[in-house]
């Protein structure tokens, strides 16, 4: 990452000061998405989606629930990175851009929290002695 020479510093960090951080996170979450969204896709195609009880049984399986939580984290992380670049490219004017980035962060963090909470509800409702939806 550069041992002090100006060229070394530029090569390591670039003008933004945080070098390859964004790029690397995008690739790592992309890799995770291939596995996790691939799992969701195959499951959705194979599940009897019209049958609430059957889908609920599938989602409350601990392994499935864990995979779904990991998927929500990876997907919302990845989409936050992607939409950040979109805003940086197309939204001009400092105030509008800042507002867009703030709204994007609300969407990404709020959406991920909503998704994880829904999965926790599905898994823990029977343990709490509640019918589905009663939590």
């Amino acid at each position: 990452m550069g041992n002090g020479t100006h060229l070394g510093k530029v090569r390591g960090l670039g003008s933004s000061g945080h070098g390859s951080h964004h790029w690397l996170q995008q690739r790592l979450t992309a890799l995770a998405n291939i596995l996790l969204v691939g799992f969701l896709f195959v499951s959705l195609v194979r599940l009897p989606l019209g049958d609430h009880a059957a889908v609920l049984r599938w989602a409350s399986n601990p392994t499935v629930a864990l995979a779904l939580i990991l998927m929500v984290v990876s997907v919302f992380w990845h989409l936050r990175l992607g939409l950040t670049v979109l805003i940086e490219d197309y939204v001009h004017g400092e105030a509008t851009r800042l507002l867009s980035l703030v709204l994007l962060n609300f969407y990404a963090i709020g959406g991920a929290a909503y998704g994880i909470f829904a999965i926790v509800r599905i898994v823990l409702a029977p343990a709490a002695g509640l019918a589905p939806g009663g939590m």
Binding site: H52, L79, L83, I119
Partner: protein, 147 residues
């Protein structure tokens, strides 16, 4: 705005002066499909997941809106949303495959391979074709199961 004043200086050529190539198409489709998945796809997933967690009634309401309303006299709103829902789901399937295949292409490009003009063109066309074919295959599989 300083940038909007007419100037005698030559202007940078923009998109419309270039000949449209497969690599350009696959690049903008990567962004378009990614943004579609990020906004429409993620919201549809959360809506489905929230309805699943909220219980059988909420789940039935979700299905009646997005896929099929089983009531004998379907209201005009659900008649429309049942069609829009299917169009959106097919669109999301295509966006998923397009973004997946295009993303795999990016992993290859990240290694420094595949930049030769012919190779780049070949894989760009392959990505777009595979995205459409995989979408068609998925929905044929779903329709075959439904019949």
């Amino acid at each position: 705005m300083a940038g909007n004043e007419p100037s005698a200086r030559p202007r940078s050529p923009h998109l419309q002066v270039y000949k449209w190539t497969p690599a350009m198409a696959v690049s903008i489709l990567h962004r378009a499909s990614g943004d579609g998945l990020a906004i429409v796809g993620a919201c549809m997933f959360l809506w489905w997941l929230g309805a699943l967690a909220a219980g059988p009634d909420a789940y039935a309401a979700f299905l009646a809106c997005v896929w099929h309303d089983p009531s004998p006299e379907v209201g005009i709103v659900h008649q429309i949303t049942n069609i829009v829902g299917k169009v959106v789901l097919v669109g999301l399937t295509w966006a998923f495959f397009q973004h997946l295949f295009s993303g795999l292409r990016h992993f290859v490009l990240d290694t420094g391979a595949g930049y030769e003009l012919k190779t780049n063109k070949l894989w760009s066309i392959a990505v777009i074709t595979a995205g459409v074919l995989a979408t068609a295959a998925t929905w044929l599989y779903i329709m075959a199961g439904a019949l």
